[in-house]
């Protein structure tokens, strides 16, 4: 990763049951800043997953830009047959362009608990 020094920041979210991958992504450039993968998981996928997360958030930002309802994106959850794909902007600042992406095993993850952990993690980073 581009910032190995930041990888350890992701340690709290690895406690999510079924955790597979966690990434911090710069939404403005699509660059994966830091990542942590489950050691027993699949081959490295942070570059692809991070790029996909940045693309999803960009499309949603374009949508909110044209709807112009004054709202801001809070989180995105995508459910695949075998996994959850969760994205949340880090911090409360409108100018924050950093995203947290979590991929987790659908069979082993309590989605409500995972959301709580992600929300608390993002809030703690943003405090």
């Amino acid at each position: 990763m581009i910032l190995p020094a930041a990888d350890e920041l992701l340690a709290p979210v690895t406690a999510i049951d079924g955790f597979r991958l966690g990434c911090l992504i710069d939404a403005s450039t699509g660059m994966v800043l830091a990542s942590k993968e489950n050691p027993g998981g699949s081959p490295p996928m942070s570059a692809v997953a991070g790029a996909g997360a940045a693309d999803i958030v960009y499309v949603l930002t374009l949508l909110s830009g044209r709807l112009a309802t004054g709202e801001r994106l809070q989180d995105v959850t995508v459910t695949f047959s075998d996994s959850f794909f969760m994205v949340r902007p880090v911090g409360l600042d409108e100018e924050s362009q950093i995203l947290l992406l979590i991929m987790a095993d659908r069979q082993r993850t309590n989605l409500a608990m995972a959301h709580r952990t992600i929300r608390d993690f993002c809030a703690s980073l943003g405090s």
Partner: protein
């Protein structure tokens, strides 16, 4: 920092004539890999469309600067103080400290750049920057080149852009950084020009200008319809990663 900015330009004057990169075999990337493997410390001057230098410490890149990108703002609290806080400031601070380096490297590792003799000496920097592994930097630069190649159908860092006079939508919502970009963009300015003016990343600004063109707030004069050659005009970071893997494979 001003001392650092002057030095590469002087050194770049002594570039070896035979060290041209043809885009097929990227000699600068190969040179950086060798320097990384040797755990080198020093400065690699680069000249070409952009003049500058890449500074290594213990085989990792700690700094890069280019005459065609914004310099690091050494007094910027986001780049300095925030990195010390136990908050999102850690990540934002690291990002603010590394983005100018990656932005400069993206310019320096262009297909027409050349490198000069590596100067083996530790270069003093005004701040202690985070180090970036050479492999990670080269992967990121390649990804950025792929993204810029996608964007080139609509806008490049050097395309003159204007603010649109009438909006196609009754209302639009933009973020504060986007609005600052629209306000700072005088007619005929390029993404590079406004990035240098605002002290932002040229790469990130080019992407943001593309997004503002998509929203209809900015436009490229004389270009009103998508290109007719069938090339996709949509930006997709995912496609840049895919292309990179195909190239490697």
């Amino acid at each position: 920092m001003s001392r650092i900015r002057r030095r590469p330009r002087v050194l770049a004057g002594s570039v070896w004539p035979g060290r041209e990169v043809d885009g097929y075999a990227n000699l600068i990337a190969a040179r950086l890999r060798k320097l990384a493997a040797a755990g080198s410390t020093g400065l690699l001057p680069v000249s070409g469309p952009a003049e500058g230098a890449i500074i290594l410490r213990g085989g990792s890149v700690v700094h890069a600067e280019s005459s065609r990108t914004s310099p690091q703002r050494t007094g910027d609290p986001a780049a300095l103080g925030l990195a010390l806080r136990g908050s999102v400031g850690v990540v934002a601070g690291l990002l603010a400290a590394t983005e100018p380096t990656i932005d400069a490297a993206t310019e320096l590792l262009s297909s027409k750049s050349r490198y000069a003799r590596f100067r083996r000496s530790d270069v003093s920097l005004a701040v202690q920057p985070p180090s970036i592994p050479v492999t990670a930097l080269l992967t990121e630069v390649e990804r950025r080149h792929q993204v810029l190649s996608q964007l080139a159908v609509i806008v490049t860092a050097d395309t003159a852009v204007i603010r649109t006079r009438s909006l196609a939508w009754p209302r639009l919502q933009v973020s504060a950084p986007q609005w600052a970009l629209v306000v700072g963009m005088a007619d005929g300015m390029t993404p590079r020009g406004v990035a240098m003016k605002l002290g932002r990343s040229v790469f990130a600004t080019t992407i943001e200008v593309y997004r503002l063109i998509e929203l209809g707030l900015l436009a490229v004069p004389g270009r009103e319809s998508p290109p007719a050659d069938g090339r996709s005009t949509a930006l997709a970071f995912l496609r840049a990663v895919h292309n990179e893997r195909c190239t490697d494979g």
